[in-house]
């Protein structure tokens, strides 16, 4: 296809007979810059303009710290729950045949398709003290709606498809011969799963966790209805941004947003490293 000689020196692009490179790349870059890059750099510019002292005061404000702790903590718990159950769901969908499997498989994408506000009011109604599930849990002394536990429930709903859809395709590719070999060599089923299959799935599971976690940290719509939104107790960081904006406190809103972006970035970086490590270790 390309007729470029092996040593053509540095060139921005390989030659091609296909036209339209300048037009499509130019339009894409212009659109990307206008819609995404300029607005996002506006955020960074605004928080840089704050000055270190102001920024530090907002970042160490107890309400900010608590909101960040709640957002990251509940997202972590929810993503962990989703790793366990999402992997089981993916396994059942890939390995077992049962009537209605395709419908169940399609249902897994519901949290992608259902608007978050709808999920929020539905979950709140379900887990409210007089709701279908809330009334079952109330006698046990478990309160879900209007507590941090409610936030976890909403984030489990939101994050589930990320884990299932990341793990599922890798499971489909597992070569059954590997399991047969393990069995022939005397491994029982549990050993085969724990020592042969799970290590191969580890990178996908970590990726699924990261995606569910990242989504959970930023989630707003499904959480604010069920959370109760008590400052210091069940107030998530995105809600605190909205509250600061409504107070016309742009500085605080910007600073919290910048902290959230930085923390998510660091986290994704760490998870990327873990992934590279596990890929190297388990191939």
């Amino acid at each position: 296809m390309t007729t470029a000689p092996a040593k053509a020196g540095w060139r921005f692009r390989q030659p091609s007979v296909i036209p339209g490179f300048g037009l499509t790349l130019g339009f894409s870059l212009a659109y990307l810059t206008l819609i995404i890059l300029i607005p996002l750099s506006g955020l960074i510019w605004r928080s840089a303009a704050l000055g270190w002292a102001d920024f530090w005061a907002i970042a160490t404000d107890r309400r900010t710290v608590n909101a960040l702790e709640i957002s990251f903590g509940t997202a972590f718990i929810a993503a962990s729950v989703n790793v366990v159950f999402g992997t089981i769901v993916a396994w059942v969908l890939v390995r077992y045949n049962f009537p209605g499997r395709r419908i169940v498989d399609a249902m897994v994408d519901l949290p992608f398709a259902l608007p978050t506000a709808v999920a929020g009011i539905a979950l709140t109604t379900l887990y409210a003290p007089n709701g279908w599930l809330g009334s079952l849990l109330a006698p046990l002394g478990i309160k879900v709606a209007y507590t941090p536990l409610g936030i976890v429930i909403a984030l489990i709903f939101i994050g589930l498809p990320f884990v299932v859809r990341t793990v599922q395709p890798i499971m489909e590719e597992i070569d059954k011969e590997v399991e047969e070999v393990a069995a022939t060599l005397g491994a029982n089923r549990f050993q085969t799963i724990a020592r042969v299959l799970l290590p191969g799935l580890a990178p996908a599971i970590v990726t699924g966790f990261a995606l569910a976690f990242a989504r959970g940290v930023g989630e707003y719509g499904s959480v604010i209805f069920i959370a109760g939104n008590l400052p210091y107790k069940s107030e998530i960081a995105p809600l605190l941004i909205v509250i600061r904006l409504e107070e016309y406190n742009y500085a605080a809103a910007t600073a919290i947003a910048a902290i959230m972006l930085a923390l998510s970035f660091v986290m994704l970086l760490v998870i990327n490293l873990v992934q590279t490590w596990s890929r190297k270790r388990y191939g």
């Binding site: 692009r13 490179f21 819609i35 608007p115 742009y250 998510s264």
Partner: protein, 294 residues
């Protein structure tokens, strides 16, 4: 060794020996866990939406939906999707053409940038436009002097929606077009087609199902977006309320039946999206294979 009952369910599978599948009790436990988990977390919320929507009877339901505020929310949601989805389609096709058809420096970085909106909280997606166009924003004073209203109006809602739905079409088309390669287009060009003809008659038919798939997901998110739109809308009833925002207002006014009535429309949209998506995957699964798995 082969289990006849399992075989009858799965005629295409090779016979499964006991060594490469779980024991029957283990299987039963995993199935029960799956159904219980999905039932509680996915099915019950969906049932609640429709149950609550019709809790006060059919007339209350239709009344809630024909209310003028609801109708203007529906109109605004349709309008916002009708503007933002086509723009992201044009961008998606253009970006996929540049990225899939050519080799150039910085391609991987560009692909990463396109996915960026997915890792930004929806609230922050709205906030960035407030910082640009708000009264204290970068362009706030200039916009005010020229009488241009972006924030707390339709343009702001459209911008925020474009931001959050930005990657959907591009990320479906890029892997698909990369997998299909350039052979068909090169053949068309060598037979005398110009670039546009190669695109219209060769590329577009090749990627149409992937494109439809992306549009479907983009549209579902555009119509259902809450956080980003909530920040830039100003919540002006009958003017800047989209359907998800209207759901919130009704719910906070303790008008649960009306809130769930509007929510049931959005849930219906979600179900239609899922059905169409599944049909596309069933019929054109092989063609979409490159884009599956997210």
């Amino acid at each position: 060794m082969a289990d006849p009952e399992i075989k009858s369910y799965a005629p295409h599978h090779e016979s499964q020996s006991a060594a490469v599948t779980e024991s029957r009790p283990a299987k039963a436990v995993l199935m029960i866990v799956t159904f219980a988990f999905l039932g509680i977390f996915l099915l019950l919320p969906l049932i609640v939406v429709f149950n609550e929507a019709f809790a006060k009877g059919l007339s209350a339901y239709t009344e809630a939906l024909t209310n003028p505020d609801t109708r203007s929310a529906i109109h605004l949601t349709l309008l916002v999707a009708a503007i933002s989805v086509p723009l992201n389609v044009v961008f998606g096709i253009s970006a996929a053409w540049a990225i899939a058809k050519f080799e150039f420096k910085g391609k991987a970085f560009l692909t990463t940038l396109i996915d960026l909106p997915f890792s930004v909280s929806p609230v922050i997606s709205g906030l960035v436009y407030v910082l640009l166009f708000g009264a204290q924003g970068l362009f706030g004073a200039w916009l005010k002097a020229h009488g241009i209203v972006i924030l707390f109006a339709v343009p702001g809602i459209v911008l925020a929606t474009i931001f959050v739905t930005f990657p959907f079409v591009a990320r479906e088309l890029i892997p698909l077009m990369q997998e299909q390669g350039n052979g068909d287009e090169e053949a068309a060009l060598s037979l005398g087609a110009n670039g546009w003809q190669a695109f219209w008659y060769v590329t577009l038919p090749n990627v149409k199902w992937g494109l439809l798939y992306g549009v479907l997901l983009c549209n579902a998110r555009a119509m259902g977006e809450f956080g980003a739109v909530s920040v830039v809308s100003g919540h002006i009833r009958g003017l800047t309320n989209t359907m998800p925002l209207h759901v919130e207002i009704l719910y906070n006014e303790y008008n649960a039946a009306a809130a769930f009535a509007v929510a049931s429309l959005l849930a219906g949209l979600a179900l239609v999206t899922l059905v169409l998506k599944t049909l596309l995957e069933m019929r054109y699964g092989a063609e979409l294979a490159a884009t599956r798995g997210h």
